[in-house]
Symmetry: D2
Subunit: 348 residues, 4 copies
């Protein structure tokens, strides 16, 4: 059983709940998030129900949920959620395109990629300043100077920023620049990082672990939610299988399955799943047609010299094609393609 | 090196080639198919090239191909193939819907399912009379009496028949009734069966093995082709992974990858991959949007009493939705939805 | 419910059972094997129990088993089985080594490999005359002339023969030469072949499918058993995973798991699982130590010119090491290393 | 190219190298570890070779290595390493048993488990105070109070402590109590944690990621090594596959493969791979027989009430069996079973 406190709940309200639960022979785990506090109860559920907790001051909701994940489950929240990233919606009736370079390399490369992103129909800019790389000898990202480049490009293009964070110690710094934090596939069970992201006051895009079951993915989202942050977008990016013709195997079925189990928006990364430029457009079409709430795509002005994942970045001739397919398929699905904000919006 | 003989080549033409190859220090493996003979050469390719084999009587083509599969490779056959099933096309600009019950149970059930198939936009009827089942205690199909039911239903509805064969000894019998033979996922490396199907004089739908790499799938098709039958349609039906939320993991990327490597048409089975009714429509949309040449879908008039795979069969309310999505997505892709033949055609 | 008839049961005895079951509203599936008949009942088990079938003439056993596999389950057969291959035991307290070349190439190569096998401590000779190959252009085996070579080498060395069969149509021919039939990993769900092997009157070694769960493996064995042949040896040979450093991933845990679920002996193939010569001895040690009932190992007098799987064949210097480790580990496990029969025995 | 500086190298020595590399058109990445500094060179290797870096003051070694991992590769370090954990060796001729409870729950439970560990032949005590759990609602460990319990039990039993760390921010605290840090399977690509562990001044046991290839596992070890810590023990603990009869699939072949590629010791966790008590002893035998440098085993005085992974913990009757098999198999392999230190040693 989980108690979601109202944003206006006082410390006294919380203490009262904890005491009540103790008198009923249970234990209460209090998780204080940025905007709300969540109390998880362990013990005899039937006993708890006699307490009429829903009527207590400061209580917003009492969830009795059988799924192992509770706050992100659709069981208790049948309508699908919409997450707002500096005013840009993901979820609901919207289909949102996110695009940008895998890694921020220079101001010029990032600005050029952002302009490509906008031309491709994107409403959000992705770009990595902290890169988790399999090899310690590979380019690890520019760090804070990369974040500054992203902020400058946001200023110029109006596109809010999605960027990855890999170390709990960096979350506060990254959240100071980013409009949305990304948790990557290698950190899908890095619980300290998930919890830190849950407290950062920014929406989070949670990539599925390349070996994570859908249930484990939702449990990872629950770690973020439990810290008071329900502004989570799930991102399917391919799983690891025996097939080697593609970098990963895009689990396209995971989109409707996760949407049935959870109220969170679900988007698809066709670039990292296929790992090849010529698969990005077909997989983008599949993603929107299956019902995904958006896609996140690599673009790069000069993929042949990219420091990271050049072979999968879209280039000049693909950009218009992506914009076209996103527009036509979104319309066919009866949804709205999220427009990019105007540059002036970035100055707000 | 592979020599494809013309349909009009004589036994003497073939013997001449074999002798020539022997004089050049090589070995020639002759495979006599129904409509053409194929000669595989093993030995020193440069030596063979001095023979000018392409100019010999009866030779249609000489292929020097680096891929491990040769006849099905796109390397030497850049245009994509079209397969005709009793006049119904698969491949080219067409998107073809195949539908029907997983297993033929009774004449009434099969006819009702065929009418559902037609209403769903299908141009071909699927239905199994020989079922490969994991358990020897499960329903194994009606055998020849099932084939007769299918033939009667073809007569009545005009839909050509696609049906599975599981034993090389049954190929001739099944080919006597069927318009297209299906090789199932469990027989994806049953080479005796593949070879028998290659000689049956019927087009073949080859399902991907649930553990087959795309290369192994194409090699299996090569076994059929090598016996002189190039009327092969590849069918992606999901692979086995760690994820258990779906019956198999639909490898949607396999469609463009296989289409790039091979000239054969590639279709998708959204029913067996997802294993759940509510995934069939989303996965059908993804399949057509990714560029598949068709889909094969389970329908059943009474899934709750189906002897095989009821939980994944579409029912009443889904049929119109399938017809609608197939029509609208096919149009968006700039392709043509293959119309169903009229009943009178079945009497030919 | 499964009824196992006595070898002495008459056709009348069987008909009586079938009629009785029908009067109780059930259906009886009769499977006539070489040495016994098995009757599977489908219907209301409680109703069947009122029939007192165990007391009927000709009935040897009545099994009411909850596992999906019944005849091979340990549930009703707690003691572990021993299979005899022309007098050579596999199972029970024995550890049996099988060795030989992957493929029979020439009489000289086969004889040399058989002598290596004997020196390595093997009591049975393996060697393939029919090879299932991923590519139709790869060496497919010598066919019957390969079987004749094996029979000659048996005569000379005294080692009984284990050889693969890949086509149901070949089973009778192969069984005419072989002492044990092998079903390979690609045919693990080739049900027609399994059933034919079940009727061949020879013990069968059933390799696990490279993508088969342990349950599916036991179900495949049940197909053989259902045709009246319980002389089955299971062989773990590696499964397909994401790891590419080895040819397959040897699932060493499958040995104790299968031994707990089934009474059949379980052996290990360290050659095909690792795919590399230098892994064969370590994996052989692991197999005997985990409790396997034997190992099957590739040896070849000249691996560098082998037509099949040379890189994994043991050579000169490894042979004595294999004999030593088999002897010492078998002793440590409190078991007996099966001795090779003397050549004269082959003349029987 | 990687330059390993001597422990006695001065900052000036390092600066000189960096400047030299720059003049040759390259870049030098300096990683200062606790005991030594490592300089990675990126650029033209042939140019670097003209610099005669090996002769420069403060340089211990210059490695030119083709493997993607360098410091942990066996290419440049053919003899196998031995790691010392508070005087207890892992690697070399030793086979070392590590045992203890999955999670530290109470002083009494931990002490009882430590006594079981000692009786089972263990020389090191494992026990988790920080537990990474899939569910945020599961027991997450006692934290620092768990570390204190471990330290007290070390005092009483003499067994050095191996314990997991999950957050880079906790590394220093945990290293203050632990004799060896454990990085768990979910953190196998948590690079911030790997780097923090590389600087903690304690040996590290690095579990293989459940989806990590052997190459990725060694790359993760390289992250630790690059920070100056080569006291790393690799632990195979099962990978994720389609098979569900076991918790994970123990990749027993990974032991010899990793030992061939890397000089680091490799041990096996039979408890987490199988996930069932009755598989622990067979898999422990397989591990020692395949050549592992040790095993790490769950034991618990009362598994039925364990807060974590009770079903796989060995209990009373298994303890002596484990001690016996470890002794006899270690002897058979010609190795030495590492004895447990005496309690008084713990007071040092």
């Amino acid at each position: 059983m989980v108690i979601v406190m109202a944003p206006t709940a006082t410390p006294d309200n919380i203490d009262t709940i904890v005491d009540l639960v103790a008198t009923a022979g249970g234990e209460a785990y209090v998780t204080r998030g940025v905007s709300r506090t969540i109390i998880g109860l362990v013990g005899d559920v039937q006993q708890f129900e006699t307490l009429d907790l829903r009527a207590m001051p400061g209580v917003s909701d009492v969830l009795r949920i059988s799924a192992p994940y509770k706050l992100v489950s659709r069981e208790n929240h049948p309508s699908r959620s919409m997450v707002s990233v500096r005013g840009v919606p993901i979820g609901g009736d919207n289909v949102t395109v996110i695009a940008g370079p895998c890694a921020v390399e220079t101001p010029e490369q990032t600005l050029a990629a952002a302009q490509m992103a906008r031309a491709a129909g994107a409403a959000l800019l992705r770009g990595g300043a902290y890169k988790p790389r399999t090899s310690p000898y590979a380019f690890q990202g520019l760090g804070e100077s990369g974040l500054k480049i992203l902020a400058d490009v946001r200023e110029e293009t109006g596109l809010p920023i999605v960027t990855e964070v890999v170390d709990p110690a960096d979350v506060e710094l990254v959240a100071g620049y980013a409009d949305m934090l990304q948790i990557g596939t290698r950190n899908a069970q890095n619980f300290a990082l998930l919890q830190a992201a849950g407290e950062a006051g920014r929406p989070v895009m949670l990539k599925r672990g390349m070996n994570a079951t859908i249930e484990e993915w939702l449990m990872a989202a629950e770690y973020i939610a439990q810290r008071g942050n329900l502004d989570i977008v799930l991102c399917e990016r391919g799983i690891r299988t025996f097939e080697k013709a593609t970098r990963n195997t895009l689990d396209i079925s995971a989109v409707p399955v996760a949407q049935n189990l959870s109220h969170l928006p679900v988007i698809v990364d066709p670039s990292h799943s296929g790992g090849k430029r010529d698969l990005v457009l077909p997989l983008s079409r599949a993603a929107i047609a299956v019902g995904a709430d958006g896609i996140i795509v690599d673009v790069h002005p000069a993929p042949e010299t990219a420091l990271c994942d050049g072979p999968q970045a879209l280039v000049g001739e693909d950009i218009e094609a992506l914009a076209d397919l996103a527009a036509s398929l979104t319309a066919l699905m009866g949804r709205t393609l999220t427009p990019a904000p105007e540059p002036v919006a970035a100055g707000v």
